[in-house]
Subunit: 222 residues, 2 copies
Amino acid sequence: MRVLYHLPLSPFARKVRLVLAERRLPFELRLEKVWERRPEYLELNPACTVPTLVEDSGLVVPDSAVICEYLEEAYPDMTLLGLNMPERVESRRLVKWFDEKFFAEVTRNLLWEKTMKQALRLGAPEAGALRAGYANLKQHLLYIGWLAEHRRWLAGENLSLADFAAAAQLSSLDFIGDVDWSVSPAAKDWYARMKSRPAFRAVLADRINGQAPPPHYADLDF
Amino acid sequence: MRVLYHLPLSPFARKVRLVLAERRLPFELRLEKVWERRPEYLELNPACTVPTLVEDSGLVVPDSAVICEYLEEAYPDMTLLGLNMPERVESRRLVKWFDEKFFAEVTRNLLWEKTMKQALRLGAPEAGALRAGYANLKQHLLYIGWLAEHRRWLAGENLSLADFAAAAQLSSLDFIGDVDWSVSPAAKDWYARMKSRPAFRAVLADRINGQAPPPHYADLDF
Ligand SMILES: N[C@@H](CCC(=O)N[C@@H](CS)C(=O)NCC(=O)O)C(=O)O
Ligand SMILES: N[C@@H](CCC(=O)N[C@@H](CS)C(=O)NCC(=O)O)C(=O)O
């Protein structure tokens, strides 16, 4: 069975979980505490980040972006990038936007400060980081809302990897109750459509160390 | 004529310059001072980073990773990722390694502290960042050397995007005289092979604000 090494709140691992489910590729989740730097895991992924995918063939694919490009090439029955060049450029542009910019400006400031930093006993969340994170999140929600008002899906007419990249970041933050959806009704409506996809089911059923997310997290009519 | 918006020391812009030259795709370089946030440029690339490529057709392609994937698909006469899945995974893994990990651990600590930060009058370089940057650079050179001793090129038997991603980061640092090549003879030998490729010529001829790099920068027998 295909294996995905992950951490439950990693937005990059979530992106791959959603994409594998959307592609109907079954997989087994395995928890990898990257901070332990297990030698066996370092051999699979010298960067020692999650996610890493291991195919039945034994092929090891580290890094969420590398995994998503690999899946696009290895399982061409479905494209999540688009059928023509402008669509593919726009999907990939937005994937980078969410993986890099949204992550650096929002997720790292909120999720990292509130969870990982405490788990690693590196101290309390920094007020400045939280403030910046919430302010940036508002701007990003407005941008998502703007896209969703002008297009059917974030990158255009078709559902794409951009939608999963954005939803992955947001679902991690939503799990810790950090997303104020009232900021943008259009973003909220788009996220409701994402949540109601079968691919989202496993992510919505997540419990972490027995801890449940806030009630609206899994509610399709939040 | 194809246009590439760039900054001369941006390692991401350098990667694309090298790749366009390797693919023999002619282009015109245009300097973009991203910190000025020109409205016309923000329309091309809302993330307001360099590089951005504009094709003759008018197609706008922002972000070095998106550009490289685009070129691979739009000009399939040459592949820089490899012909089979394991090769493609390994090239992409290493591209991410250099774009993300090498950049964060080395280039940002040295190049950003020494050039951009001063240009933007954000203060003097921080001693801690420089110390970390040099220490990390040594480890990365050893890793590059290790790869180059076990393989013909960094990702395997064939020259790939991984070689250009690594060479781009190193050439920016070499321009400011920050690379101690004596750390790894194998890395130095690999970089000498990269420098002697025709695709490298324009980058080696760079002058920035009339300033020349150290003499060994363009020397093929450094
Ligand atoms: N570029 C990587 C980033 C993955 C990443 O940063 N994962 C985090 C968890 S969200 C991690 O494993 N961090 C551990 C570390 O950086 O040492 C990807 O897209 O997969
Ligand atoms: N993911 C982007 C990163 C590009 C990037 O960070 N470029 C820097 C120059 S090396 C930049 O434009 N920085 C301006 C900014 O971040 O505002 C890429 O690969 O093109």
